[in-house]
Amino acid sequence: MKHADIIIIGAGLIGTSTALNLARAGKKVFLLEKESSACHASAVNAGGVRRLNRHFEEIPISVAAMEMWPQMSALVGSDCGFRSHGQVHIAPDENSMKFLTNRVAGVESLGFFHEELVDATEIKLLVPAYKGKCKGGIVARSDGFALPAVTLKAFFKTACSQGVEAYANSKVSSITCGENGFSVQTENGGLFESEILINCSGAWGGNIAALLHEHLPIKPTALSMMVTARMPRFLKPVVGVHGRKLSFKQMDNGTVVIGGAHISFLEMNKERTTLDFKEMRISASTVQEHFPIMKTASIVRCWAGIEGITDDDLPIIGESQKTPGLFHVCGFSAHGFQLSPMIGRLVASLVQGKKPELPLDAFSVSRFKNPV
């Protein structure tokens, strides 16, 4: 039996970032991961580092996280491939433009000024290759993208060097909660104890909660991506189009990474994803329609990553309603990558009983009507 102050389930970015912060605060932390190394959402996502278009509740955390991204080298010894070429969200028609205008007013009324309303001429300057309809759009100039696998590795390495004890191939299969805290068992025979338990298991968040008879409204979802062979440089910022399933960026090496929340088939019990080529066909058409330069681009690879999506597309962050000492930090609903450096900091305070730098109340599981 091994004992620590805190056990974290899931060594994705959320778990690893939380572990890192707790270790820096002097806590003894076990980080349990079912894979040989974490290979799910955090390692295979689109890498978008975006404040633009965030849910209002998420903006304060997203803005604080954004201040951390350019400082990654100091934090985790790697720049994580972060490039600050901006993010652009284009309004294809008057209605979208009206919507975005209102949005920016709303964001500004909260005291945030990172979203900038721009006209069609400015969009042309920012995204010359864009040939779709355009009435203007919004821009966050210092947003950008980073390399997920590199980021995850850097966080993980740093966490371990700060004393986090990481256990790979350790799938948590049962949890009991007694007077002295939690006792956690893994499929490979490991037995761990702690006073505090944090559920950072992403799309599996509901499964972990279920081990302690709690329901979390998290739906595991397979999100599809595709990447092309290198193209001559034609695009700097990350581009999305309002009302269209398109997320589009060109990496430093020239490859183009295409997302847009197209869903793949998912067999969760086998953790097997099968791409839905009907969706990929739509994705390819959408890209072509807006970026004709892409017609001849050669598709090298498509893949899908498993992400936990909640009923209201906001993450669940906070102490369990049912089991004191258990914290859920999961269900980041396809936008947890950018937030992760800040989430680790906030959750570390939360579980130590300190007041987090930013409020987390909006993310409490109590917001859902479902009976516990």
Binding site: C39, K153, L275, R281, I299, V300
Partner: protein
Amino acid sequence: MSELRDIIVVGAGPAGLSAALTASGLGLDVLVLDEQPALGGQLYRNIEKANEQTLKILGSDYGRGRHLIEKFRNSNAEHLAGATVWNIEANGNVYYSKAGQSSEIRGKHVILAIGAAERSVPFPGWTLPGVMGAGAVDSNFKSSGTIPEGPVVFAGSGPLFLSTLGHMTSLGVEIGAVLDTTPQGNLLAALPFLPRAMKRLDYFLKGAGMLLNLRRLGIKYAKGINGYEAHGRDRVEKVSYSSKNGVQHVEAGVFLVHEGLVPRCDFTQLLGLKHCWDAAQRYWYPQINHVGATEIDTIYVVGDGAFVHGGMPAITKGSLAAVDIAGKLNALPLDSKTVTLAKLEKKLSSELDFRPFVDVLFRPRSNLFKMSDQTLVCRCEEVTAGEIRRAINEGCLDSNETKAITRCGMGRCQGRMCGSALNEIIIDELNRQPLDTQPLRMRPPVRNISLAELSQLSLFKNRVR
């Protein structure tokens, strides 16, 4: 074309043709897809158009293919030439590209008969123009009659190495040197298997004749070579090679390398099937049963893509799978299925009698993948062995993670060229058992297609899952 077929065969080589023939002979509706313009696969490539001289040079092993293809032409099986398969799903959906148009089609069963590929082994200079796979040059000769301009230096080992060498000498290609990398202890280790192999005496006579011919022609032949490098500015000009006698050089206009064949596991890996590791041949092969069935009921693997056994066994393996499927689809009563399978299995086992000898004789050298830090491993993404080692030393534990960090295997070929080398470096650096490592994960499209083509992909009207 009908959307649902009884069997889709991928690959029109000996195994695929035989599977298709057998299945259509039993009344099944069969479609064969192959990316090549002509039937025949690698072994019988372009045989229908081969002239007398080519037939003479390539000999009876090649000529035999004519008979098989004739039978195929007379069968009811359908063939789609120039159809490159780029995705296969567990439920039997097959996606292919032909003349710039991609389509989806479904088989109740899919027989993978995509054969073997030349093992790709990085060495200093391997990306220089003029450095090629020996097998690739043999294929070029079959399909277009082109032959390399000398002086040609050959390096490598294995049956295909020797047969290509034989073809090129018969064609009068100027050969600068032959550098045989077969480990010298192999022959002794293989001797116990010789008696069982004797019934293929013709192979041995052919091999011996070829070596004698080299001597007769005064071609430099060096044994026990344990490494080589290609040198040159814009293309290969010189080859250096090492043996226990030290390092030597030879001039080269073309450098042909062949270090054995390995099963092409693209689709079996894409499908997430279980793979086994052959320690002697140092390669992964898909786990199948005696008739080529995999753990996914729809999917069968036959021929060299299942394990490299050569042409004759491939033909038998193809028939085995076809008969088994015919049984499943009620095209064959159980008792005749059992009898037929038993006969075929006996035939296969006798065809494989010479294999243990050949497999031990051509076991790859142990330092095959020992490369310097400067050696380029991934040509698509330009990643060196040193960069891979650094990532491993900084904590990467398996090939897929190392790929994500270094980009080795992330390029156009999805690791077909560098995957083995990457895995071998991991085995070495982390002192792993090969079985504890993972081959690189494959993702569709397994062959690149353009975005425009994907946007025009023709799908079933009634898609079910």
